[in-house]
């Protein structure tokens, strides 16, 4: 533990996970590099410590990825948040803060498959020459509207209170418990039929559900669509710019990254604490 303290390795940092790489392999690689870095400082560090730090808590946060791992890697590239040392507790707090994540999702019009992705079994092919950017943005506005409504419903707030009104004005209402996937924002970045690029801001999502959103957009447009790429660009406070590339997975870069991200993480956690205090517990009584 001593060397860990001195090296200031406590906190959260983001790494870039390229497509095709299983997150477990990535975590093992980062772990190995950290160990190498620490050992090279010629100090005694029991291996078990490191293992404990990169705890399965991170796994549960990223759990949804594993479960659909059979075809995830081909499609997804992510910034993955890992925690080291005391950062693991932070990781739990971040998980409980229920922050939103940003994704760019690429869709392809004209066919529907059984797993909503480009490589599934073909179900149907449809025409798409009637689809225009206006129609697409209309559908996206409706999806966003109904999800924003659901967000307030799942947050279990008593809407007749002044606190609920003030949180709604600030846009801070979001569920602090389990809920189905909720999209806080969705818009079309590029439209070049048959391809289109969406930016989705959501919480409690899985990749399967994101692909399903693309499929449902296709249905609403009276055509069909499949998802060809899902890319996470932001996870809470960590953006793609904070993500460390494979070449940067050494102890020095990880340290700087942790230190850079620490103030943002703290600010976000503070904000979420105040929201959590305003939220009543599921019994319905306000926690004050």
């Amino acid at each position: 533990m001593g060397s860990l303290e001195r090296s200031g390795l406590h906190g959260l940092f983001a790494v870039y996970k390229p497509p095709g790489l299983h997150w477990k392999h990535l975590r093992d690689t980062v772990e190995f590099k950290l160990l190498k870095g620490l050992n090279s400082k010629k100090q005694y560090t029991p291996k078990e410590h490191i293992r404990f730090l990169l705890a399965p808590k991170e796994g549960s946060e990223r759990g949804e990825l594993t479960l659909i791992a059979k075809n995830v890697p081909a499609l997804s590239e992510h910034s993955l948040v890992l925690g080291v040392g005391r950062g693991n507790k932070l990781l739990t707090d971040i998980y409980n803060a229920h922050l939103t994540k940003d994704y760019t999702v690429r869709g392809l019009l004209g066919k529907a498959t059984d797993d909503f992705s480009d490589e599934g079994r073909l179900i149907e092919k449809t025409t798409y020459d009637h689809v225009t950017p206006e129609k697409l943005s209309r559908i996206l506005a409706v999806i966003q509207g109904s999800h924003q409504k659901a967000m307030v419903m799942y947050s279990n707030l008593d809407l007749k209170t002044q606190e609920a009104y003030e949180m709604a004005v600030k846009g801070l209402i979001r569920p602090m418990d389990k809920s189905p996937m909720l999209i806080t924002g969705i818009r079309c970045l590029k439209f070049a039929p048959p391809e289109f690029l969406l930016e989705i801001q959501c919480m409690h999502e899985t990749q399967q559900l994101l692909r399903r959103v693309v499929h449902e957009i296709g249905l609403e447009l009276k055509s069909s669509a499949v998802c060809t790429q899902v890319r996470r660009t932001r996870d809470g406070v960590f953006t793609l710019e904070d993500a460390l590339l494979r070449t940067q997975w050494n102890i020095h870069n990880i340290q700087t990254s942790i230190q850079k991200a620490a103030p943002r993480v703290e600010a976000e956690l503070e904000k979420s604490q105040t929201i959590a205090l305003d939220h009543p517990d599921p019994v319905g009584q306000s926690v004050s």
Partner: protein, 478 residues
Amino acid sequence: MAMAGTTWRGVCAGVRRARPLLPGQQRSLLPGSAVALLRMRWTAAGKSRSRREAAEAEADAPVYQYVSERARRADRIFTWGFSYTGALGIPSFVQPSADGPAAGRKPRAIQPVPYRLEMDARISSVACGYGFTLLSSQTQDITKVWGMGLNKDSQLGFHRSRKDKSRGYEYVLEPSPVPLPLDRPQETRVLQVACGRAHSLILTDREGVLSMGNNSYGQCGRAVVANEIYSESHQVHRMRDFDGRVVQIVCGQDHSLFLTDKGEVYSCGWGADGQTGLGHYNITSTPTKVGGAIGGVRIVQVATYGDFCLAVSADGDLFGWGNSEYLQLASITEATQVNIPTHLPFSGIGKVKQAACGGTSGAVLNDEGNVFVWGYGILGKGPNLMETALPEMIPPTLFGLSDFNPDVRVSHICCGLSQFAALTNKGELFVWGKNIRGCLGIGRLEDQYFPWRVTMSGQPVQVACGVDHMVSLAKSFI
């Protein structure tokens, strides 16, 4: 989900093999159920035979066309709220039939979410009165207006009863054609309808304004007849005596306002609160030009629903008159009735584009797309704001404005007796206010203290608010 994990490991093992697995082949190390899911997708070794076959099969698959390039968006009508008056136009809610698709269902007093009303005609204007609804189309066919709901004062015209040909219906449960005494029924078009407590107005393009219903206070624009019986009456009165062409009609509770293309306002009906704006508190039974602060001013829109009236001028100024017991005009006078239009010098609301009046409140929309409310009741800024004499802006974030959507603006507002509705430029409908018998359409029966989305299977383009029901005209998404 655990199965997927085992499949994953199976695929991992498969990657290192040169030969891909064709669907249907068994592999001894995998559980049998996982085989069917095996597909060599992200192999490092290029396209496999099965992939090529799949690509060929895909190219051969037929392409379905669900909608052509030039498809028109379908028109839809949604109603919600209290149904026992018949105002929603769905008879099975009130009288479930003994046979047919609705057999055995229980009557539904309240429709808490928008319900589709099927109509063949293209409806262009809708108005909700106190327990009744009028729908109108701009067609040149004989039938231009349909009515449903309460008809005890013949506010929907005369609807002959099928059981007894000499009687008329007191409640009309589904949209029924309203007979209109037009000179040229196959040329005249109906532009707009308006409904009050027990009377209604119909605006035509070349035959003036028609009025039906209760006339105890002259609100139909004709002389009050003592002891007149309004139920089952065939009388429809026509008014053509305006200086200019009437472009907008609105009904208050027991009075009527008419706006001409010259920007002048006429009124008739009950005046005890000064809502006729004619400088007295008596009944007026003929449409009379309104003066006061709007005399000589070019008015572009008038609004009323209870006993309080607002008018918007071409320059974006606001004028009000009528009832002020609920602080509607408290910013300029302590009097509880104002019988002559007065300028409302509100600062900070910008240029007014549209005004709407509730029973105890007022709302304006300015040219920036912001909504301001004042008066008494649930105004839309949380439970703590129950009354204010000066307009307060509703935060635009409540209408969906955010960093993600920075260009959301409110495009239209509408008031019922104690609720508000707003349409945004993104095609969303927001409602707030007292949820009388489910009239907000939000799925709950509780009051709503800030703007809340109403979702329906269509994009709302027009909304009309009544006392305990609402109707919306929408277009399908595609």
